[in-house]
């Protein structure tokens, strides 16, 4: 593990009895002493703190950085205001997904991008190669990032900042001080719960971690294991599992971040053509009827046992206490309520396509 990178919070994870895994070249906590299910429930019921410092940050500056970035992404930066964030795909000319991003519009001259850890070098190279009239800087090493998620998150964070959090609506952001540390405070997350993502100078992140735990004895640190179960219950795509270079946003159910009416962008003509022709397959949400979990890579098979699709994410849902998953299936076999057969160790196990998300947070 010697060549794996560590975040500024590594020692703090060890203090919380973290078990570490290699994730995108980083040595990251997969769970802490409480375990994945307890961590998952803490986020749904109270609050949890995630170290997401492995995520990449790319800062784009130029006379019209908004227009420059808008040419690379599927969603529309012109449709939001300064101070707003946008979830989007970054696509290849053929419509395949280079990465999914959260893009922050600071102003016409500055756009700040958060990307997946494993894609950081690829994204930076792609963005640098295709940007016109703006310059990208890889700031991944400069930032620590924490995600504070759960119904108790707003009150907990408000105790550590004078920035009025009630004024930061969902997918808006502000700059302020948190526990004495300058922060980009973003009302975003990957859990379905209310909460914030905090971008902090890498050398000062520890003070914020410590202040949050000091302020709330019930706060739990949350590892990648629960991050995965939380996002899966919301059908939030995970790059490398549910989406990649070979899948398009339309196939992945991300058509809502593809704005075909905006000015030209990379991948637009391919996505227009696919929309006109109809997508051949679609990412669906399913629930297993029995007790066997479905897992990433398992085949979806027809009545004769021939593969017709594949599971991209799957496992137990701690909220539902059932086994859930996502799978690509051929268009026409994707309707909610349709039966699926998931091949598990040579057997066909019954599943049913359901409406996503699997749960309604806050209910």
């Amino acid at each position: 593990m010697s060549d794996l990178r560590r975040t500024p919070f590594f020692e703090r994870h060890a203090d919380h009895k973290a078990r570490f895994v290699d994730f995108g070249g980083w040595q990251m906590p997969v769970q802490y002493a409480a375990g994945i299910q307890a961590e998952h429930r803490a986020v749904r019921r109270h609050a949890g703190l995630f170290d997401v410092s492995h995520m990449g940050e790319i800062d784009v500056r130029g006379a019209d950085a908004v227009a420059a970035v808008n040419r690379l992404i599927t969603n529309d930066l012109e449709a939001i205001a300064d101070g707003q964030a946008l979830y989007t795909c970054l696509c290849r000319p053929d419509g395949g997904i280079v990465d999914d991003l959260v893009v922050y519009r600071f102003g016409r001259e500055r756009v700040f991008i958060c990307c997946n850890a494993a894609n950081r070098a690829k994204d930076f190279a792609w963005i640098s190669a295709h940007l016109e009239g703006a310059v990208a800087e890889d700031q991944g090493d400069a930032w620590a990032q924490l995600a504070l998620q759960g119904p108790a998150a707003p009150a907990l964070l408000q105790g550590l900042t004078s920035t009025p959090l009630a004024d930061i609506k969902r997918y808006w952001f502000a700059e302020g001080m948190v526990a004495g540390v300058p922060a980009l405070i973003s009302r975003t997350g990957y859990t379905g719960e209310d909460g914030f993502e905090l971008y902090l100078p890498a050398s000062q992140g520890g003070a914020v971690w410590d202040a949050l735990f000091a302020a709330d004895p019930a706060l739990l640190p949350i590892g990648l294991g629960a991050r995965d179960t939380l996002r899966l219950e919301m059908k939030y795509a995970l790059y490398g599992n549910d989406i990649d270079d070979t899948t398009t946003p339309l196939e992945a159910g991300l058509g809502w971040v593809v704005k075909l009416k905006k000015a030209d962008f990379i991948g637009k003509s391919a996505l227009e053509a696919q929309k006109a022709a109809g997508v051949p397959r679609q990412l669906v949400a399913f629930v297993m009827e029995g007790r066997v979990p479905a897992r990433h890579g398992y085949a979806i098979v027809d009545a004769e046992g021939a593969p017709i699709g594949r599971v991209t994410s799957g496992g137990p849902s701690p909220s539902l206490e059932r086994n859930i998953g996502l799978a690509y299936v051929p268009t026409g076999q994707h309707a909610v309520g349709s039966p699926l057969r998931v091949e598990v160790r040579g057997r066909a196990e019954a599943a049913t396509i359901v409406k996503a998300p699997f749960i309604q947070p806050g209910s």
Partner: protein, 129 residues
């Protein structure tokens, strides 16, 4: 730290000789800790034949799927049905309520080649490096 009355496989199963000649099989405290929250166990069928070193079932945690390996040849004479409803017993009582199955060994001498608690502890320590 591992019960001395048990013997152990390199794949982290334990085996216990019972008075009637059968052998009870489970996974070790170390194995359940490494897996995390166990959510599902695929048990062998009563009457199934196991072969030493071959897989006979699966244990799944929230995150992972792991095969179970037979410590000896034999026929399954009992399975722990309670695990179907509460697989978490493997976490809470790996040497007790979390037992997986009982086997009547056809070649009991094979158990002598498994690890003692002391040797297993050394094996776990070596795997950590």
């Amino acid at each position: 730290m591992y019960p001395t009355e048990l013997v152990y496989t390199a794949e982290h199963e334990w085996a216990r000789r019972e008075a009637d000649g059968s052998v009870t099989i489970g996974i070790t405290a170390h194995a359940q800790d490494a897996l995390g929250d166990v959510v599902y166990v695929e048990l062998p069928k009563v009457g199934a034949s196991l072969s030493a070193g071959e897989t006979f079932g699966v244990v799944e945690s929230v995150k992972s799927v792991s095969d179970l390996y037979a410590p000896c040849d034999g026929e399954v004479v009992a399975i722990n049905e309670t695990l179907r409803k509460d697989a978490s017993q493997i976490n809470s009582a790996p040497y007790g309520g979390g037992w997986i199955c009982r086997v009547m060994p056809s070649n009991p001498g094979q158990l002598a080649s498994l690890m003692t608690a002391e040797a297993y502890a050394a094996h776990v320590a070596a795997e950590a490096h």
